[in-house]
Symmetry: C2
Subunit: 438 residues, 2 copies
C-alpha cells in the first residue's frame, strides 16, 4: 500500500445529482425527506470506507414552475439530518454546508460542536457564502449581499466560530464531586470579539469538542474564495473540468497555503467528480443516457440559470447560444466562467448546455468501468491535481452502491484507498493535524 | 379508564434539575454531553408512555466562577440532540426550547419541520423570549432586548414560522415521474411577510410536515406572555407553586383562549412539578436531603440570582433577606414575584431561599411515595389546575426511572394515564386538533 491514501467524500443529494434522477424508475422520488433512504446511503458509504458524507444546502426553496423544478424544494435541514445519521454510523465523517451570509456564528459554532460531540469527532462544516438571491428574501433583504461584503463577512464569521470552538480547554471541565468545582476557570476563554460584522462575547456553551475543532471545508474558487480557503480551510471542495485545470488550481492553493505558513498536508484538495459506473464502457454510457433522456429541455436550462447566478433563461431560444450575461456581483463568477468555457469548447446551444450539465453540473465527469474510473482518479491523485475526490453520482442509492462496491475495491486493490478505518475522527481519516485544545 | 387522560412531559436537564445533582455519586457528572445518557432517558420515558421529552435552552454559557457554577455550561445544542434521539425512539414527542430573540424565523421553521419529518410527526417548539443578558452579548448587542420589544418580536416570529410551515399543501409534491411534474404550483404558498421585525418571502424548503405544524409550547406568565400563549400556543408550560395559584392561572388562560375563539381543549396547560419518589415518605425526604446537603450556599444563591433576572447576589449577606431588586425590563418579572412571595411566606433568608429552590426552582414540589404523588397530581388534574404536568426530577437518570416505574403505574391503575400509545404523533398524544394542511 502506498503511503499516501486518497480521500473520498460521498456527496449526497436526495435523489442524486442528475437533475432528472427522480424520474428514473429505480429512484425513490421522495428521497429528500426519507430518513431510511439517508440511513442506507450513510451505511453504504461507511461500508465503503469513505472519509465523509457531504451535504450541500440552500436556505431557500428552488424557484420556477413545476416542470422546471429540480427535486430540491423538499429536503431535510442538514444539521438535523446529520445528527440523526450520527446515531446509525460509527466512523464516517459528517460534513454539512452552512452559509455565513444569513446566520449567526454563535449558532453555527454551537451546532457543529454539538454534532462533533454526538458523533465522537466526525463533524465538518462546509463554509460558504450564499449565492442565491432567493435566500436574501428569506432573511429580511430585498437584494443579495454583494460578493466582497459576503467574503468579508465570511472571513470574520470563520474567525468567530473557531474562536468559540476554542472557548474551553480540553480539560476545563474537571467536575470534581468532592470539592464541588465543576470547571477550572483557567480553562475558560471568553472571546470578546468585536469586528466589522460581529460582536460576540462567548464563551460557547458546549465543552471542547472531540476534534478540538470540527473540520472546515470551503468551496470558493474566486480570488476572494481562494484567499480565504488557503488561509483557513482544512479541505477544499472544487469543480475542475480537466486535469490541467485541476493541477493549476491545486498548485495555486498549496502555494497560497504556504504563504500563510501552512504545510501542504494541512490543506486537502478534493475536486468533485461525477461518476457513472458500468460493467462495460457502453453499459455505463447507456446508464447515463437513460437519465439524459429524462431531462426536459426547460429543466436543464433552468438548472443552468440557477448555476450561472440565478438568471431566468426561460426567455431565450433553446437552440440559441448561451446569452451574454452580466458578471454580476451577486452571481457565481467562477461557475459562470466554467460554463461559458464549456459551451464554447463543445459548441453547445442553450438546451445542449443545459443537458450537458444535467448530471455533473460542470464537475469532472467519468462514465465507464470501475477500472477506467480508477485510472482517471489515480492519474489526478498521483499528478498533483487532487488529494481525493468528492463523489457525485447521478442517482441514489444506486449510483453510490455502484461506486462503493465496484470503484472502491478497485482503488483498494491498487493500494490507493484504505480497506478499513484506522482512526475514529474525521481529522484522523483526512490526515489533518490534531488540535488538542490545551 | 376515564375519558380525560393526563399529559406528561419528561423535562430533561443533563444531570437533573437539582443544582447539586452532578455531585451525587449516582449521577454521571458529564451527562450534558453524553448521548448514551440521553438515549437511556428517552427510552425510559418512552417505556413510561410519556407524551414528550422537553428540553430547556440558553444561547449563552452560565456565568460565575467555578464554585457557583451549575452543571450547565457544557451541553448539547437541543435540535441536534433531539434529531439524534428521534432515531432511537418511536413514539415519544420531542420538544425543544428555541428563543425568538436571537434567531431568524426561517431557520427555526426549517429545523422543526425537518425534525418533524425525521421523527414521523413528533416535533414541538417551546417558543420563548430570552431573559438572560448574557445571551445578548453573543449576538452583537450590549444590552438585552426590552420586555415589550421581545414580546412584539416573539408574536411576529410565531406568525412567520407558522406561515412558513404552511408553505406547501399536504399534497403539493406530486412527483409524477411520467409527466415530469415534481410539484403542483397550486399547493405552493409564498409567504411574502413584511412586518415590524421581519421580512420573509418563503416558501420553506421543506415539504409540509407530518403534523401539519409542529406543536407550539409557550412558557411566559407575564401579561404579554399570557396574551401571546392564549392566542397561539398548543401547550403552556408554567411554574405554579400551589393548587389555588394553578387554578387561577388555568382559568385565566382558558378564558383568554376563548376570547380568541379557541376551545378549551385546543390549549393544554402543563405546570411543572418537581418530584422525588421514595418507598416511604421518610425515604423520599431523605433522598431529597442527600441532594440538599450537596448544595454549596453560594451555588444556591447564584442560581437564585440567575432566576431573578441575572442579578449578581454574591455581595449580599447569606443570612440576610432577599434584597429588594429592581423589576427591570430585562428581568423575569413573573419569576421574581414567585420567589419573593416564597421567601416571605416561608421566612427564608438568602441562603435558605437559594437552598429552597435548588431542586424545583420554584415549581410545585412533591416529595413522597408514588401514591402520595399520584394523589396530588390527580387533585390538580381533576380540579381545574392542570391538563398534565411537565415532570422535573432532581437527578438523572435515577429520578426519571423512579417516576416512570413507580408513579406512572400508579396513575395508570387509577385510569388517569395511558398504558400504551394510541397515536403516532405528538398532536395525537396531546389530543390536539389535527392540521391537515390542505
Amino acid at each position: 500500500m502506498s503511503a499516501r491514501q486518497m480521500k473520498l467524500g460521498a456527496f449526497l443529494m436526495a435523489t442524486g445529482h442528475h437533475v432528472a434522477a427522480w424520474r428514473h424508475p429505480q429512484v425513490p422520488a421522495d428521497a429528500g425527506l426519507d430518513f431510511q433512504h439517508y440511513r442506507h446511503l450513510a451505511q453504504v458509504a461507511e461500508a465503503g470506507c469513505f472519509d465523509t458524507l457531504f451535504l450541500a444546502d440552500s436556505v431557500a426553496a428552488a424557484t420556477g414552475d413545476s416542470a422546471s423544478q429540480m427535486a430540491r424544494s423538499d429536503h431535510f435541514e442538514p444539521l438535523t439530518l446529520l445528527s440523526a445519521l450520527s446515531v446509525v454510523t460509527e466512523r464516517i465523517g459528517l460534513i454539512s454546508t452552512v452559509t455565513t451570509s444569513y446566520n449567526e456564528p454563535y449558532h453555527v459554532a454551537r451546532q457543529f460542536a454539538s454534532l462533533d460531540h454526538l458523533s465522537g469527532g466526525r463533524a465538518g462544516w462546509n463554509l460558504v457564502t450564499s449565492d442565491a438571491a432567493a435566500e436574501a428574501g428569506n432573511f429580511g433583504r430585498d437584494e443579495h449581499i454583494g460578493h466582497a461584503e459576503r467574503y468579508s463577512r465570511a472571513r470574520e464569521f470563520h474567525q468567530v466560530v473557531t474562536g468559540l470552538w476554542d472557548s474551553w480547554s480540553a480539560d476545563a471541565f474537571v467536575r470534581d464531586k468532592a470539592s464541588g468545582q465543576y470547571y477550572d476557570p483557567a480553562g475558560r476563554r471568553e472571546l470578546n470579539h468585536v469586528g466589522d460584522h460581529f460582536k460576540v462575547k462567548g464563551p460557547l456553551n458546549v465543552a471542547r469538542s472531540p476534534q478540538g475543532r470540527p473540520v472546515v471545508v470551503q468551496a470558493g474558487s474566486s480570488e476572494a474564495g481562494r484567499a480565504l480557503a488557503a488561509r483557513t480551510a482544512d479541505v477544499i471542495f472544487t469543480a475542475q473540468p480537466s486535469l490541467t485545470a485541476a493541477q493549476a488550481f491545486y498548485a495555486d492553493l498549496k502555494n497560497r497555503a504556504a504563504t500563510f505558513g501552512r504545510s501542504a498536508d494541512e490543506l486537502k484538495i478534493m475536486p468533485g467528480v461525477f461518476v457513472v459506473v458500468g460493467e462495460t464502457q457502453a453499459l455505463a454510457q447507456a446508464k447515463f443516457e437513460a437519465f439524459q433522456d429524462l431531462v426536459q429541455p426547460e429543466v436543464g436550462v433552468a438548472l443552468l440559470g440557477r448555476m450561472l447566478g440565478n438568471f431566468d433563461l426561460s426567455g431565450y431560444p433553446l437552440d440559441g447560444p448561451l446569452p451574454e450575461l452580466p458578471l454580476t456581483d451577486s452571481g457565481q463568477r467562477s461557475r459562470q466562467q466554467l460554463l461559458s468555457e464549456l459551451a464554447e469548447r463543445e459548441h453547445l446551444n442553450l438546451a445542449q448546455l443545459g443537458r450537458r450539465i444535467a448530471g455533473g453540473r460542470g464537475h469532472f465527469s467519468l462514465i465507464g468501468t470501475a477500472a477506467q474510473i480508477a485510472d482517471q482518479l489515480q492519474l489526478w491523485f498521483q499528478n498533483g491535481a487532487a488529494d481525493g475526490f468528492n463523489v457525485l453520482v447521478p442517482h441514489l442509492p444506486g449510483g453510490l452502491e455502484d461506486f462503493a462496491r465496484q470503484v472502491v475495491p478497485e482503488l483498494q486493490r491498487r493500494g490507493l484507498f484504505r480497506t478499513h478505518y484506522t482512526g475514529t475522527t474525521l481529522r484522523e481519516h483526512l490526515g489533518l493535524p490534531e488540535i488538542n485544545g490545551r
